[in-house]
Point group: C2
Chain length 340, copies 2
Amino acid sequence: MDNVTIKMLAKELNLSTAAISKALRDSHEISDSTKQRVLELANRMNYIPNAYAGSLRRRKSNTIAVVLPEVADSFFSLAINGIESVAREKGYHVLIYLTHESFKREQDILKEFQSGRVDGILMSLTAETASYQHICALEAKNIAPLVFFDRVCDESNTAKIMTDDFESGYKATKHLIECGCKKIAVLSISNYLSISSKRLEGYKQALQDHSIPFDPINLIYCGNDADSNYRFIRKILHEKDRPDGILATVEKLTTKVYLACRELSLRIPDDIKIVSFSNLSAASLLNPSLTTITQPAFEIGKAAATVLFKSLDKKSFQLENIREVLPSELIVRGSTVSGQ
Amino acid sequence: MDNVTIKMLAKELNLSTAAISKALRDSHEISDSTKQRVLELANRMNYIPNAYAGSLRRRKSNTIAVVLPEVADSFFSLAINGIESVAREKGYHVLIYLTHESFKREQDILKEFQSGRVDGILMSLTAETASYQHICALEAKNIAPLVFFDRVCDESNTAKIMTDDFESGYKATKHLIECGCKKIAVLSISNYLSISSKRLEGYKQALQDHSIPFDPINLIYCGNDADSNYRFIRKILHEKDRPDGILATVEKLTTKVYLACRELSLRIPDDIKIVSFSNLSAASLLNPSLTTITQPAFEIGKAAATVLFKSLDKKSFQLENIREVLPSELIVRGSTVSGQ
DNA sequence: TTGAAAGCGCTAACAA
DNA sequence: TTGTTAGCGCTTTCAA
């Protein structure tokens, strides 16, 4: 295939490679006439700079990494859209790494970043992530600036873009209580993640403000296996003292709840009411339509990328301990109020 | 940050950089004892090879590109999962490029690949893509092997992984006819894509086999703007001789149909029946549940990546003109048959 | 079995 | 304004 190189251009024009390089980067120390000749030839010969030669020399890859648990989830896929929109504008490339909620994988990925492959990192933690040494190690070595989005690491001193999880948990729970729920179960995927604990705090606060005692039995931790999650949820809904309200902190669990209710002939919202954290565009089309806490997913991705590029632009690896909070929205629909 | 380099290891052990390099790659020309010493030190000093130095030298990036229209779509996000699962196993990195259905962007992205940034490319065409010079140019230059998935380019001689679009179009239409539809509209996003024309061919064949004349007025092309798509669909459903059956070839259009039907008080499936190409896991939970043509999205992604790596493994840029067809499935639900 | 040296393609001092 | 030179970190002949 043998691409056109700067050397070839130099030879062709009887110039040095340095002159070509500078001309291509529109340096002020090259005459306009030369620049023009270089650009013209580069264009004619279809010169494309070798991506890795420049990266090696300048220690800059023009590439960022996005590390997230999952892509087949409306929140994350929308966040990627937000990230990509900024990266594209900046002329950056986006490497994607899926952890599938595996802590081990998250560690391996971060370790790999020491290779200098990326200039910056956007990250959303695994549900399993309970220790933060791999993150501290990365930060200590000043490898690349790191920005967390959504599933942030409170123990880290870097920038974090998130939503108001406490308030969301509170609002959702309050709504369920006001709809008459007495026994509200929380479906969670992690007891480590800060978003989980914050949503849970909001839940507890709402209970307390309405004089409902908190019962740990209503905390339901689900794992990573869809089938066993389904069986687990079904079992809970089948019990005599089943919950009459569900707060699902993850979109994928909501499907399971709907299916279980259908199979057990539980009527939503009459027998049981459901609020879910979800960005599903079809939420309003479900049967019944789903009351959601909807996060500003695209905006979160965009904000995270924007903060990251701000630090890349000024070549400072050390990001301030920013904490940007974008509000989520409670959208009331048929799974909590009939006829909505 | 200053990472550990081969040079440092060499100095520390009083060996040449060549010896270190060979030892690290487990070359047979290095003694076991030396290998051991090198490995031990590399490990202790936490040596991570510079990603781009190796890539520059070996002209190999261990990176593939995935070029697709959109990530916030269940088909594509599942396909990415399939791709990532294979890439990870092979130790490859995955760059993601979203075209957002823009032909211009697709061209730019492909052009960029001449920089040698990626070893291989997985691609699904834009809805706008009607000319294939950018693809031919890429192939002619032997930049990197290219595998198409789903939205393939028939004009290219490379490998293609797809589903049985003709049969799917046929099955879906036949089903609608058997449910009593007389006037079936097809919602499409492109008159260029081969998947679109094949699904359309299937549609036409089914009509013909059931002695229903084909009327071009029932072909409805939607664009890239969600709002105007909605208004357009709503307008069509509001007309006196509106269709009594809809075949949506894209998931995102189905939401619009449901919304329009709701607003116009059209009952699904009584007044109008709907089949949609969709991988939405919530399809069975919609109101009414959605009859779908469901594609093997994960498997398509996996198959495409597998074919690509087969060619990367044997270092042949020229892929055979393979055409792998994985079957889609018609899943009958409530949007075509009441009570399902 | 090890080392010396060249060079992947590009950039950045420094010199001219 | 242009050229020379050195080198980013690694691999790969070829020689020792």
